[in-house]
Symmetry: C2
Subunit: 381 residues, 2 copies
DNA sequence: CTGTTAGCGCCTTCAA
DNA sequence: TTGAAGGCGCTAACAG
């Protein structure tokens, strides 16, 4: 039951403390900065007491203004709705903590305009550096950052024309890992589903790696569909989540393929021990085993929701789903996933940035961390 | 292909602009603050040009130092992992945007110590106000905030002894809505599963409302289990997600109940009251329809994962699940949910805070927003 | 060891 | 209409 004085009593300043302790501001400042060795125990005690009495807390803004550094860094996220972002954030926070930095978290919510405004705002607040999980846009937007501007490190994707450190998933390896897993498990009709990837480097890399594996070591062709040596087919399907009608169209295409394939090959004694599910099995003729490879969690969710709506709760008996990203519902649904080392990605990003802030001048570095394949029922038959 | 000068050329200051424009700092300041009426068109043009040429951007820290307000507010989140937080955040961001505020997002990651540190940090940066989605702790931690300190508004839960505006779900109504829905659909054995709720007001309210409905209009008793008029049973199960062993134990208890009910009835496994059990009795009845009412998304997820692991993909044929919160996987899994007006909660919180910042002195207000029941297959039989 | 003196970048009287 | 001077809270040389 604390008494709460209504009039907020202006916060004590360093001057107040100096007066209260009967000394000069300099000594207070020294105390604040831990220069204990140059303070007589006696003075030090008085200062301590005064600070305590006044509940004094130094004004970081003023400090920052004076010393030219405020220990603030910006963390620009493209989409907090994506679990990936939140996980990366955890790493970022931990690292900031360890390094005495304070992250200003900005959420662009997938809007380029927001991204621009936040970047501008961060500049205005004179953050010492920025970690950017950029929307897939032109360098232009990031003008104030990197090279000539404040230090920046990119997360997950790079931006054309912007030289800066980058840390993210080893996309090539991850996509290969996933594709090989599907092939090894006998799927011969694989659809790589991805959001528009012209602008986003990580998506590009994933898609390219998928295509390469599918077309076999030899043919790194440029088509969006290819036949591997084992006779497996690979397709790339673009799913523009921002465009409902486009999504509709793409999903329809997928449906046609699934229907044509006539269900999943192999014994119907599938994941569900459900006896009623007798959707027949391997059609002797052209029964191919279809698998969907989602380029990230949002795509995977969209696919899963659609499939469930179309084929019912047992949709997994018809199609296999593998996703890059391992969202919380993956285990629940039993889909196979490639988990990104999100925490580490965030942590490393801050470390890189910190080095830059401290003046390290090395040429732009790339840090690619490996993903981990988590096999679940979905891709095992 | 921009040329990127390696040496970061110190950012231009107001003095630089003044010199460049051949005028005094005062005029620049006036320009910055939109006092156009007192600037000759000619001077104004020169200033504009100078700013453009120098790519000048006023230093917010310095401005804040001078005027005493920096347009910064703190947003303290208990757990960003909970989709609820992210959704509320969206509302907060939108409102801040509209009101010219900049939210500093802090993530306590469920650690009280973090919460304390961040609060201290925010104080130190002299934010003008704070929006707090507090961990369930004593007022003590929030000392610097509310009443005597900087303006604060609470989100989702209130804190004992701390008088401040609060905005959140109408927990009582929501819990009633859910409970009634289950009863209406013929479930006669309902388990309300909730994290430890002594410290968290919202959980308390939900649990209490559930219990009240279950024990019928008359008996607002103090037991954690009761029998409604229709002969329905209500149980409260505490799930301490932070304690794996406790979770284990609680889930085991649930399993027993489910097995007893689901089986051929007769077995009536005499549930010998485990001493450590957080649940009271349940009558070994046969053929009762069991439903689980999760107090929030994290609990619901934990339950779903467990049930799936134990009963397989078809777990929903054995138990019904209803959750407060409507996470992205709810639709996918088909569980019924009560969606919170998260966006609006965040938005209103900022509006309240803004009013406080502007000096409104009304007594502490509570804003309770209604939840929306979204019926899915899980609770329909 | 300790205090005095300048500013950091900006805003705000107060004159001109 | 414009500018000069002083100060926000704090730090960083310089003296004592």
């Amino acid at each position: 039951m604390s008494t709460t004085p209504l009039a907020a009593p202006r916060r004590a300043t360093i001057t107040d403390v100096a007066r209260e302790a009967g000394t000069g501001k300099t000594s207070i400042s020294r105390y604040l900065n831990g220069e204990m060795s140059v303070l007589s125990p006696e003075l030090r005690a008085r200062i301590e007491a005064a600070i305590e009495r006044l509940d004094y807390q130094p004004n970081q803004m003023a400090r920052g203004l004076k010393r030219g550094r405020n220990r603030l860094i910006g963390m620009l996220l493209a989409d907090l709705t994506n679990p990936y972002s939140v996980e990366v954030l955890q790493g970022v926070e931990a690292a900031c903590h360890a390094l005495g930095l304070m992250p200003l978290i900005c959420h662009a919510a997938n809007e380029v305009e927001m991204e621009r405004r936040y970047l501008q705002l961060l500049t205005t607040y004179r953050v010492e550096g920025v970690i950017v999980n950029a929307l897939g846009v032109r360098e232009e937007t990031l003008r104030p950052v990197g090279g000539g501007g404040i230090p920046a490190v990119l997360v997950d994707r790079s931006v054309d024309g912007l030289v800066a450190d980058m840390v993210g998933l080893d996309n090539r390896a991850a996509a290969e890992l996933g594709t090989r897993h599907l092939l090894d498990n006998g799927f011969d009709d694989i659809w790589f589903v991805v959001q528009p990837f012209e602008q986003v480097s990580s998506r590009q890399l994933r898609e390219a790696a998928f295509r390469e594996v599918m077309s076999g070591e030899g043919g790194a062709g440029g088509t969006s569909s290819g036949k591997g040596k084992g006779g497996a087919h690979g397709h790339t399907l673009v799913l523009n989540l921002a465009e409902p009608v486009a999504v509709e169209r793409a999903l329809a295409e997928l449906d046609r393929a699934i229907d044509a394939a006539g269900g999943l090959g192999g014994a119907a004694a599938s994941v569900t021990g459900d006896a009623t599910s007798s959707v027949t099995d391997r059609t002797g003729g052209k029964g191919s085993r279809i698998a969907l490879f989602a380029a990230n969690a949002p795509v995977a969710l969209c696919l899963a929701l659609h499939l469930k709506a179309r084929y019912g709760p047992d949709w997994q008996t018809r199609v296999a789903l593998l996703s890059i990203d391992d969202p919380e519902w993956a285990e629940l649904t039993g889909i196979t996933a490639i988990r990104q080392p999100t925490y580490e990605i965030g942590y490393r990003a801050v470390e890189f940035l910190h080095e830059r802030i401290e003046g390290v001048q090395a040429t732009a570095r790339d840090c690619l961390l490996p993903g981990e394949l988590i096999v679940r029922a979905s891709t095992l038959r």
